[in-house]
Amino acid sequence: MNEADIKQRVAEFLAGHDPAGDRLEFLRARFDAGLAWVWFPEGLGGLGASRELQQVVERELADTPQINGGKQGIGLGMAAPTILAFGTEEQKRRFLRPLWTGEEIWCQLFSEPGAGSDLATLATRAVRDGDEWVVDGQKVWTSGAHHARWAILVTRTDPEVPKHRGLTYFVCDMNAPGVEVRPLRQITGEAEFNEVFLTGVRLSDDLRLGEVGDGWRVAQTTLMNERVAIGGAPTRRGGGVMAAVLDAWRERPELRTHDLHQRLLSLWVEAEATRLSGARLREQLAAGQPGPEGSGMKLSFAKLNQALTGFDVEFNRDLGYDDWTFRRSEDVDFFGRGPGYRYLRAKGNSIEGGTSEILRNIVAERVLGLPSEPRVDKDVPWKDLPR
């Protein structure tokens, strides 16, 4: 299937469905026409085409009703590829369509207070009871949990074996009794995330994704898709966080000093070199030469954002803050807020989605081929690990 075939499909679809009609009907029809994600199999929102062709579809359908990439992010970016890879036919048919149309929102129940960087040490238990599993534990850093219908969930089903081997992956029904969602307040004042307490939550066995004990492998698929998604958006020269800093710099000449000027020029160069390497990475991906550079983009962006937002607060000599109110926020409104907010929020960039420490380990071992450290937890049953 090539670009012309795809264009033809889109044209046929548009001939039969009016973009000005009911939004949801239109999206459902688009899914059924295989134009949701063309590289997925036929019947599951795709056409079995190559992934690059999705760009053609997006271009052709740019003026039609769109899905909500922000609110549906976890579902689209993490749950869907995992369900596609490990789900039963029945699971794929049940979950993918409403996931894509946005009728059902997804969230992710992975991290725990005691299992952050070392996710595989997680303690949320799932115990089999006939055709059901009973889940007890606490998850944290869950965004969107309060309007999610489903969650992807990793649990420990066997504490007697080493930590990577005793995990099982589920789809969790967020409406099930025993699921409690509490907003988690951050240092910015607001709550983007939640804590999720699971108490005697019963999940039927057909919500299991992959084999019992194979949860680590399933979770790796999810996480691989997460890391590709972070830090990949193209920016223009002097754009992104730098643009916010430059606006202030140009508007307030009375605050400029030589010290700040030299530091800003250095940051400008770093931002531009980082932007260029992102552009080069996208060229590589487009040319089908993925290359290892992707692993580092998040690291570089986190450092740069933190330096720039810290600079911004200092430059503005701003002792104020815009709003400490404890409220639930749906999105990160980075540019709609003040320098103080940006400074604090950017601190999370080196923690969320893999800490910079873990990412440096990954670069060192997987990209540079450096030997791993002596491991003390490889062959120890999970229940005997020090914690």
């Binding site: 960087s117 000093t257 933190q306 701003d318 002792l319």
Partner: protein, 353 residues
Amino acid sequence: MTLLYTEIEEELRASVRALLADRCPPAAVIERVESEPADLDLWKTLAGEIGVAGLLIPEELGGAGAGPGEAGVVLEELGRAVAPVPFLTSAVLATRALLPTRDALLGELAEGRRTAALAVSFAASPYRPQRGSAVRAEGGRLSGTVTGVAGADAADVLLVPVDGELYAVEAAAAVVTAGPSLDLTRPVATVTFDRAEARHAGACDLAAVLRLGAALLASEQLGVAEWCLETTLGYVKERHQFARPVGSFQAIKHRLADLWLDVVRARAAARNAVADPSAVSVAVAQAWNAGVAVRVAEEALQLHGGIGMTWEHPVHLYLKRAKSSEIALGTPGDHRAALASLVGVPGPEGGEQ
């Protein structure tokens, strides 16, 4: 002149630390910062029982007749606790402004019966003392606005420098408007005077006042950095990931060793600035310590991982204090710029570029 702590200073530290441990644990600070940040009960005890409010005031004016060394030790402890009390604003800045006038108010300040604030922007510096101030005096009355005033929320009386003269205005005669502040534990306010009745107290060398404030702020920054480093050390020794304490990973160890080297030097710089509060010593202490406090607080947050990003963990109070203090009383860049002429490292003016 010594860079070490005297026995008297160590005793003073022990008293302050014990009181703060009892009355001002981090959880209590978090709880109060959104309703009424300033803890005036605690301040009453610090001033009345330990006598910290009068440290810089001579005995004959009702104070303790101590010096910057003792005040520095108090600030180290207050920094370690991000204690929301007006020591720096009342007992250092306002008191130092008033000292040359030998005004009777000093006795009341020393006893902690009254609390003052210097109506000057906390973002002003010894090099730009007027930043944020626009007040004029006419016939014993003041009119105008000062932005970014620290400690105004806790003050009974405002000391207002206008054209080299110092005026005292009852807080009730001014409008003090507190907005949200980056530093939750030392919020700043806009102070507005509209023909407010003012008492002339005497002359005021505002740059000198702010210089002493900057000298002592370096001790507070040291305290902030120390708490952050120690708390992080405690956390990484306890927190296990990959079946090892996080603090056994070499990359973490090396970063903490480097931070410790920074803090060791911050201690030397802070003690030097209180032993000899000259323009050079103060500029060095601020240029070094402000950055160290921010760096250690930022690393503390990072090394706490997710928990450091939560409101319930106190590390954010320290980060916000450190970052605000970087701006307060001159940024590190301002102090470095001052050193250029103070120590003879001239810029390129006259040369190329």
